[in-house]
Point group: C2
Chain length 166, copies 2
DNA sequence: TATTGTTATACTCTATAACTATA
DNA sequence: TATAGTTATAGAGTATAACAATA
């Protein structure tokens, strides 16, 4: 596929190691904060946050799953958990009876509000406190470029379901 | 603690979202590749890779745990799994009979060799293919700075074990 | 027949606390 | 008494495949 060398340069290796270390540590702390303050897993927080930003606080299961990248059954599990806690509701879509519309509740928004300041605090202290304005700019530019590239070139494994012709 | 504003600027938010998206997608793909090719979890790969780089292919459990950041029991579990597959050996340290020395075997190195090319391939195609030389440089500089900061200011929760005076 | 979502199931991983053994 | 590591246990999360219902 690629015509580029199969090795990483020392600089690339260093960048990769540092990147994974930072993302692991940050993720670990963020998960701990979400669990301690809001009893939320990372995925649950992600789902709530997406719903909080969505118009009407609602999204279809499939659209949510696309954003979170996980399996449908995994999302069903998390949505059930959130529904049992009263943080979301689920209802069949009026437009397409196959679809399920998930909607964040006031209680769900309250949990988001509980969790947000500490979440921001972790991100600030772990990521941005050691960066100056220029660093933030270049980091934003570089990460946005990569994420755009990943969105437009989804890895082969991202196929939602195996097709018959595989 | 911090005197900085409790909010993130739009640029910081954008950087954070892109960063987490990239790291999630990359991690997901890397885990899939490791599982498919080497039947390794991410942590298992990390342990093997560290041992592969260590002098003599050996490290103490505690030193390994420090690198992986997880709980001791979690590392014991992974080390057991690796030992059952013959990828590492475990033996008490001659110097300190309390310690366990973990050593990578030839079979372990073989699995690492199996897994490496694809691992590099995922990292290259997902991360570095969309970056030019300058981007790699700044990414390396920024991430190295952050990781150094995190190492020297370990988050409060990183205390290995609760002390009596807590 | 294709799509949406749930269920059943089995497995992996993680953490806490209690425990053993050595320093 | 403190440290290194293991064990027991329990819970959370994930994925695959089979299934039901709707388009």
């Amino acid at each position: 596929m690629s015509t580029r060398p199969p090795q990483l340069s020392p600089l690339e290796l260093s960048a990769y190691f540092a990147f994974t270390e930072v993302s692991s540590l940050l993720r670990h702390e963020v998960e701990k904060q979400l669990r301690d303050v809001g009893k939320l897993s990372y995925v649950q927080f992600h789902v709530l946050a997406r719903l909080g930003d969505a118009p009407g606080g609602s999204q279809r299961m499939t659209d949510l799953a696309d954003g979170v990248v996980y399996s449908r059954s995994g999302l069903t599990y998390q949505a059930q958990t959130l529904e049992e806690r009263g943080l979301v509701t689920r209802a069949p879509s009026p437009e397409d009876e196959r679809s399920t519309i998930v909607t964040i509740t006031d209680a769900g928004r309250a949990v988001l509000a509980d969790v947000f300041p500490g979440h921001i605090g972790v991100v600030r202290s772990m990521l941005f406190d050691s960066l100056d304005a220029t660093d933030v700019e270049v980091l934003e530019r570089v990460m946005t470029r990569v994420s755009g590239h990943l969105r437009s070139n989804p890895p082969r494994s991202a196929a939602p379901r195996r097709r018959k012709s595989d």
